[in-house]
């Protein structure tokens, strides 16, 4: 139920993000979700793409530091209380969230999470009847 997410280390300087996206664009890789976590000097670009292994390889060829990490994706009605409920389920089980980001599509919202224990998180969410997405489902959204 986990989804491979690409993480790219980038220096915080202008044009760098463009270069990553141009590399992916040339290889016709599609991006479902993207977020940047940054400090004053560097950032981590996180991407969910159509072919993460291919994307990793082409970025590596261009000397980027890339890793694939597994994240969880949940789909829920586009209302704050559903996001809140999801977070509550996890915190009740002492599962901590390393980071999360989300995007909405019509009346639905897709939430991406990375937890300190993804397996436990998946179990807890399923028990509480949250709707999880696998990779192919996520790309159809």
């Amino acid at each position: 139920m986990v989804i491979p997410q690409l993480s790219v280390f980038i220096e915080n300087r202008s044009g760098r993000l463009t270069e990553v996206l141009e590399v992916l664009g040339r290889e016709d890789i599609k991006i479902t979700a993207l977020t940047v976590a940054d400090t004053s000097e560097f950032g981590i670009l996180r991407l969910i793409v159509s072919d993460s292994e291919k994307a990793r390889d082409v970025l590596k060829d261009q000397s980027f530091t890339v890793n694939i990490t597994n994240v969880i994706s949940v789909i829920a009605p586009n209302e704050a209380r559903h996001y809140a409920r999801l977070l509550r389920i996890l915190s009740d089980r002492d599962i901590s969230i390393e980071y999360t980001y989300a995007f909405a599509r019509g009346s639905k919202a897709v939430i991406i999470l990375r937890c300190n224990n993804n397996d436990e998180a998946i179990k807890a969410l399923k028990e509480n009847e949250m709707e999880l997405l696998n990779a192919s489902e996520l790309f159809k959204i």
Binding site: Q5, E11, F42, R46, T65, V66, N67, T69
Partner: protein, 433 residues
């Protein structure tokens, strides 16, 4: 202008040569019989004390360099029993082991003598207040100036380095007339005075003796204008004695080398041949009177040229130009000696990273800054900011401990830093010398 030791400082150069020859022969003999390192090296070259009949034979002797001091760490090159050593100083080395120097009581007297000459060169005397803002401790700057200042009868204020607000307070309240520190700190102080709105008429400074790092003529003019003083360049290195090896006089036309104690040569750093007077090359010193740690043909790695033309001040001692370059990769950052290999050693010890780095040295607000860029290795990159920050802090702490210097570590993308087996670019020095 008064000269501390006119007998030697203004000696006829032919007479001086006799003194140098006699002293060299004594030094070679003592080194040969008391220091196995020198004896072995001379024997290997087929030489003995009898091979040296005058200063003209000096070129026959093998060189000594920092590596030899390291190989004989800590006291292996000392030429007297430790019971004769009354002081030990040390400076940073390339591999974490410092370069150690020892002084006998007589060496301390020599050091005080050459520092007295230095301060007299700068026009200081018994009525001066000398604010010594060089660091006191293992570094030779503070204590060197201190002993020289006492020798000429000045009032020495041993404030040591740093603590700018106290420097300003003492400068104002005590009426310091002579400032001794690194040139970059002098500029920093000048600006601190401005920022604190100190009335220039409250400051009695007349002259500054600045050294321990390279500085340009432009920087000199800036210091002279901002502090309204005469800025005198002094030169020394702890291996030879510390500050006091050479000093400018008020003419500011080169630094007079105290060559009755420290004999200079200029060599081509590649061929190691002695170059004629006036050629630019690497400065090499042979100590002529030192007891604790005699040095024979010690390679300083500093690049300069010499002139024995008579100076308008009346001194006959040979003069060297301001040193602005080096024949090795040593950097001087805030007066601290730094070799890129020291950084590399720290990084090599950390399994999380690869030793791909770049040093960026700059001067911001007149203080040197050192940035170390380190590449993020894929094996350690696990997509968490907190982890990368922790790594950055750890590298920074390890470097600061090893270098005794504040460092800013920046994580950079891999393979951005140039690699080459032969000559990789490890340093960018943005300072203008």
């Amino acid at each position: 202008m008064e000269i501390w030791n006119g007998h030697f400082e203004c000696m006829d150069r032919l007479d001086l040569k006799k003194v140098q020859s006699e002293r060299l022969m004594e030094t070679v003999e003592r080194s040969y019989f008391n220091v196995p390192y020198y004896r072995n090296k001379m024997q290997a070259a087929g030489l003995g004390p009898e091979s040296i009949g005058s200063i003209d034979d000096l070129h026959r002797l093998p060189f000594t360099d920092k590596q030899d001091l390291r190989d004989n760490y800590p006291f292996g090159l000392f030429a007297v029993p430790m019971s004769e050593i009354v002081r030990i100083h040390a400076s940073s080395g390339t591999t974490g082991k410092p370069t150690v120097v020892g002084y006998t009581r007589h060496d301390i007297a020599t050091w005080s003598e050459v520092m007295a000459r230095t301060l007299k060169c700068a026009g200081a005397g018994r009525n001066d207040f000398i604010q010594v803002a060089y660091g006191y401790g293992l570094f030779t700057g503070g204590l060197g100036l201190h002993y020289g200042g006492e020798k000429i009868g000045a009032s020495v204020i041993p404030v040591s380095g740093g603590n700018t607000s106290r420097q300003i307070q003492l400068m104002r309240d005590f009426g310091s007339t002579v400032l001794a520190c690194t040139p970059s700190y002098a500029l920093f102080l000048a600006e601190a005075l401005q920022e604190n709105n100190v009335d220039p008429s409250d400051i009695k400074l007349r002259v500054g003796v600045f050294g321990a790092e390279p500085w340009t003529e432009m920087m000199r003019r800036e210091i002279e204008t901002k502090l309204r003083i005469k800025a005198i360049d002094i030169y020394g290195l702890s291996e030879v004695i510390g500050p006091g090896v050479a000093s400018e006089c008020m003419a500011q036309e080169g630094l007079h080398i105290n060559e009755d104690h420290f004999f200079p040569e200029i060599i081509d750093p590649d061929t190691l041949q002695v170059l004629p007077e006036g050629s630019m090359g690497e400065l090499v010193f042979t100590t002529l009177t030192k007891e604790g740690l005699p040095l024979i043909r010690y390679r300083t790695r500093d690049l300069t040229r010499l002139t024995s033309e008579r100076c308008s001040c009346g001194r006959t001692m040979i003069r060297m130009e301001k040193c602005l370059g080096r024949s090795d990769d040593m950097l001087i950052v805030r007066g601290v000696n730094l070799f890129p290999s020291q950084v590399e050693n720290v990084l090599l010890e950390m399994s999380e990273i690869k030793p791909h780095y770049l040093l960026v040295v700059d001067r911001v607000n007149n203080l040197d800054t050192l940035e170390v860029q380190v590449e993020v290795d894929e094996a350690f990159f696990l997509d968490k900011i907190s982890q990368l920050e922790a790594l950055r802090m750890k590298i920074q702490e390890n470097l600061e401990t090893a270098l005794a210097l504040g460092v800013k570590v920046t994580l950079v993308e891999p393979k951005k830093l140039e690699r080459s087996e032969t000559k990789s670019k490890r340093v960018i020095d943005k300072r203008k010398f």
